[in-house]
């Protein structure tokens, strides 16, 4: 395994710009959770010129809907959900300063352009490795939208959260590059 970059959140613009598709990272600090329904609400708030319940400026959103935490654990199993479903909601959040998105799977071409424009990055967590990922979450607090259940927004404190830089700020795409290399038909 090649070297892992250990990074502390929030990341400086310099660090974000230095990340390249294929880099492996371990994140420590605060990230917020958010999936389909929460994104819809956040974007509606912005549309109505209302403030967001979370500070995304310089921060990160992890696309996840965890299982309920078992007694004695900070969080339940918490692997990434497919990111492409959040694509339609991303630009207003980038405008608010969102810098890091974590999820799984490929996203739209438009999204990749937005990342270049707003100098933000997309990281992948390993889909389905949800029990293992929960080991790197040390604290989980409900912030809002409790009615959404697993889709509510939580503030996570993470330590050594593993991710792979998938789209960087200069337009590299780990999926495209990887698949090209191994495609035989």
């Amino acid at each position: 395994m090649d070297e892992i970059k250990r990074l502390t959140l929030p990341l400086s613009q310099e660090v974000i710009d230095s990340l390249r598709a294929g880099d492996k990272v371990e994140l420590t600090g605060v990230i917020y959770t958010g999936r389909d329904a929460a994104h819809k609400r956040l974007v509606e708030l912005l549309k109505n010129n209302q403030p967001l319940p979370i500070d995304v400026n310089g921060g990160g959103i992890y696309y996840v809907g965890p299982t309920p935490a078992k007694p004695g654990r900070a969080i339940g199993s918490c692997g990434p959900t497919s990111s492409y479903r959040m694509d339609p909601f991303v630009e207003p959040l980038l405008k608010q300063g969102l810098k890091v998105m974590i999820g799984k799977g490929p996203r739209s071409k438009e999204l990749r352009e937005l990342l270049k424009q707003y100098h933000a990055v997309y990281l992948s967590a390993i889909g389905g490795a949800a029990a293992a990922i929960s080991e790197s979450v040390t604290k989980c607090d409900l912030i809002c939208y409790e009615d959404l259940g697993a889709e509510a927004i939580y503030r996570l404190e993470v330590k050594g959260f593993f991710g792979i830089v998938t789209y960087d700020t200069v337009g590299n795409d780990l999926f495209d590059e990887g698949i090209k290399k191994y495609k035989k038909i």
């Binding site: 294929g22 329904a37 299982t67 935490a69 959900t81 799984k104 992948s124 390993i126 029990a131 698949i179």
Partner: protein, 279 residues
Amino acid sequence: MREIKVSLIEEKVEQMLLDACENIPENVLCRLRRAKEEEESSLGQEVIQRIIDNDLLAREKHLPICQDTGVVVCFVEVGYDVHFDGDLYEAINRGVEKAYVGGYLRKSVVRHPLDRVNTKNNTPAIVHVKLVPGDKVKIEVAPKGGGSENMSLVKMLIPADGVEGVKKLVLDTVFNGGGKPCPPVIVGIGLGGNLEKSALLAKESLMREIDDVNPDPILANLEKELYEEINKLGVGPMGFGGSVTCLAVKINAYPCHIASLPVAINIQCHAARHKSCIL
């Protein structure tokens, strides 16, 4: 006539779901280990190793393998000579509720596809009942995640499309899904029947054991060919590129109309959870 208490069904469904969500089937784990050996990309190998480590950790610490503990798909085979002392469907749903509410599993069902209010107990399950000879009941449960289900489809091909048309559709579907359905995947295919039958066949094919061999030699051969070709697509573990995109291909078939060639493709992610029992 054999009387079966529906409370027993409820209990079994609950137990099997709790078990399924935390314990990956041993043959899936073995297949993942082999996949790691077969994978050419070093990142792909690392991804598979992390999946294996996760599955072992889940088993050891009694945690759900994946946070998407799915919608419950339940296949029930009921012997003609069985009588239930209550409502079978309600019993299954009570078992689902107990497992998901009491067992720290995620509730992923909304009551209506458009108003999207969570039912908060993961019911209703999707239940398929089949009548069979005898006085036994077989129950199979599979918590099915949304990520891989969303990459599935049904298409009504025509006879002229033939086996080449089927293959192309399968390859395109897997390729277009890329990393979204959490590859390496198992590809379940329903061939023939009609629109709804093909979808059911595809789902049923995913209930087969990962290492079984299709008794129909034509299908066994097609499974093998598709398996090899899918793994040449380059998608790889989690879509980062690699030589292991699928762990297995399963095809179930049924007679169909002279004018049709229905094909359903149901993608199953590496978290291939299912359990069964016979009462």
